[in-house]
Subunit: 388 residues, 2 copies
């Protein structure tokens, strides 16, 4: 029913190849002819069938974006940034939600494989080896994960977690808890590793709880257990969990930050609206989305390799396309959900002023950068199985 290239050819009295060229290589066709063809096309409401075009060119001009859970407010900014970046290069983004289910992730990659030029795998929950295997089927860029040989953009949550722990210990907290996220999350491991190290460096204890679903519900349900740890400050895997936790703490009769301090990770819009406002680690989600699209598309279109915020890391030339791994910096945003610990009581009235940043990046201890070291966790309460 919709007009095809043949209809246009017939209407304008030229061969279909001329019509084709009118659209894909205008300079090869006589301006006069071109205008006639364009007029006919307009008339008939013709639009090139991108799927058919893809069949022969091999480029669909579509990008797949696989997300663990769109209901998590962390993702929309990333999605929107990726979309607008893609649109600029005449690409479209197909989003798919996996409900945090590794099996769904795999299915989706397969389903998308032939309809897109590449897939952005966002906070994947499946194993590294599976990811590597899938990457032979369709170009992949992973976000919030490091898998050797694959281009990746990660947010340096390790750094953020360290900042958060330092902030808390600086406020006098000695008993800390870490509210862990979902099994299979690279981010979760990074956070645990960095938080553990930072706590040890400050001579504070850190109890790790988890894995948990990374949602309000997940945080809410753990309130009782958090209390039982006796911690006076807790770092949550993400803002959603932190918010749920605060809610749960509240119904347990514990006041934040008076009785217990809470810090989240992500800095979702919502964290500014809770009461108390949430202290959190801001992650550059939008920059990550943009960068990931750029990395996926870097090899074809006109070069516009806009660098993301934060320092680019290693850039190993692998087989034939450069597989870079970009790490984006995070920063601590201090609001009202953190306050002085029991030791320093009466010292300060309410929330802490943003003045205290105990020696960021102490030179004695090299940052968590470098090659991924296996089994970095030490105090892990519950072992998590993550491949390689």
């Amino acid at each position: 029913m919709p007009a095809t290239i043949r209809d246009v050819a017939r209407a304008s009295g030229v061969h279909i190849s001329t019509v084709s060229r009118t659209f894909s290589a205008p300079h090869l066709v006589n301006p006069e002819t071109r205008n006639r063809v364009l007029a006919c096309a307009e008339d008939l409401g013709y639009r090139p069938n991108r799927a058919a075009r893809a069949l022969i060119t091999g480029r669909t001009h579509n990008i797949g974006l696989i997300i663990a859970d769109i209901a998590n407010p962390f993702f929309p900014p990333l999605i929107k940034a990726a979309e607008s970046q893609a649109r600029q290069r005449d690409y479209h983004i197909f989003i798919a939600d996996t409900n945090e289910d590794p099996a769904a992730e795999e299915d989706l990659v397969h389903a998308l494989a032939k309809q897109v030029d590449g897939v952005l795998l966002c906070s994947p929950r499946m194993s590294n080896s599976l990811i590597e295997q899938l990457s032979r089927e369709v170009p992949l860029v992973v976000i919030n994960r490091q898998v050797t040989g694959l281009p990746a953009v990660v947010m340096d949550v390790g750094q953020g977690a360290r900042l958060a722990v330092e902030h808390l210990t600086g406020l006098g907290h000695r008993a800390l808890a870490l509210l862990g996220g979902p099994r299979g999350s690279w981010t979760n491991r990074e956070i645990r590793r960095a938080a553990t190290a930072a706590a040890r460096a400050a001579d504070a204890s850190l109890t790790v709880l988890g894995p948990n679903p990374p949602t309000e519900g997940g945080g809410l349900a753990m309130a009782e257990q958090v209390r039982r740890t006796g911690a006076t400050a807790v770092l949550a895997y993400n803002d959603l969990m932190a918010i749920g936790l605060m809610e749960g703490l509240d119904s347990l009769g514990l006041r934040v930050p008076r009785d217990i301090s809470v810090v989240g990770i992500d800095d979702i819009a919502l964290s500014r609206l809770t009461r108390p406002k949430l202290t959190t680690v801001a992650t550059p989600a939008a920059a990550a989305g943009r960068t990931a699209v750029d990395m996926l598309l870097q090899h074809d279109g006109s070069a516009s390799a806009r660098a993301g915020r934060g320092g680019g890391r290693a850039s190993t030339t692998d087989d034939r396309r450069t597989t870079a791994q970009v790490s984006l910096q995070t920063e601590l945003v201090i609001r009202d959900s953190t306050g002085v610990g029991p030791a320093a009581s009466a010292d300060r009235p309410g929330a802490a002023a943003p003045a205290d940043r105990p020696g960021a990046a102490s030179p004695a201890r090299p940052g968590p950068h470098g090659h991924p070291d296996p089994g970095g966790a030490t105090t892990a309460a519950t072992p998590e199985s993550v491949a390689s």
Copy 2:
């Protein structure tokens, strides 16, 4: 590079058509042959190219879902429901975000048109006439909009708005404000129409403010103006705006619900987590997603016309596919953001019991159902241009 049907044919020593049939019509091929083919396919990692298949069958097994703003927590439940419903029928959903931009909507429909079997247009902001025109290009199901001749699923926010207003007037409020949503929103018009009627019926005044962006920011920015109306209760276009408004009111020194009552619409998860917890109109987003997918797919796959919650409405047989319009019921969820008005003070302690529902649908005034009447609004502060 990926294996094609030809590779499999060569490997298993049969013609490509046999391979094709092995997948799309297994009963037509000898079990022995079939197994051999399947083994080879497995071996080579062959997967049918859905795009190529679509070219000839005309069915892509993809559905497009166009959303005004994924960052709005109202949508994720709808999206997830649609996805799972689609998956059951071996369809995949491609989500796209328009940033509330009508032009982006149109582009997206065009881009999607050839890659999907149909598009779910969710809370569209473009004109009805444009939608009708686009529907000639690809099967459309609209959500939260009524356009003649097109299948639609709407949530009866009119009813919900009426309930909300009755709840407020029942609490003694006489000066009401309506915090309007975005231009071009059908939902917005419905709400205004119903709220206006309900307010008039209860002899209360209603000041309409808008249009506004349907976000926290949009609500926050209007706090001052809301105060200036002198209203003691306000109904917001959605929960996000209501939450933003509460925040703004708070920084103006107004307490909710003591000084002013606020009710939202949507019942997003977040509305349970704010303090005070938000009174709101629950809309069945998930059911809408499911129903929309069903309506789009009703004509092909095995019949499983699961009816959505709420009463189905008119079902006109149009050209050749039945274009039904389903209306889903909404309900009022009373929480803590609404309290007694100035007139009835000291009467009741806190929130109202759900006992008060003054004469629903007073017979003197026909309900808001029926053909859309032009210019139904009376006290509208700012005229909105919406086609047809």
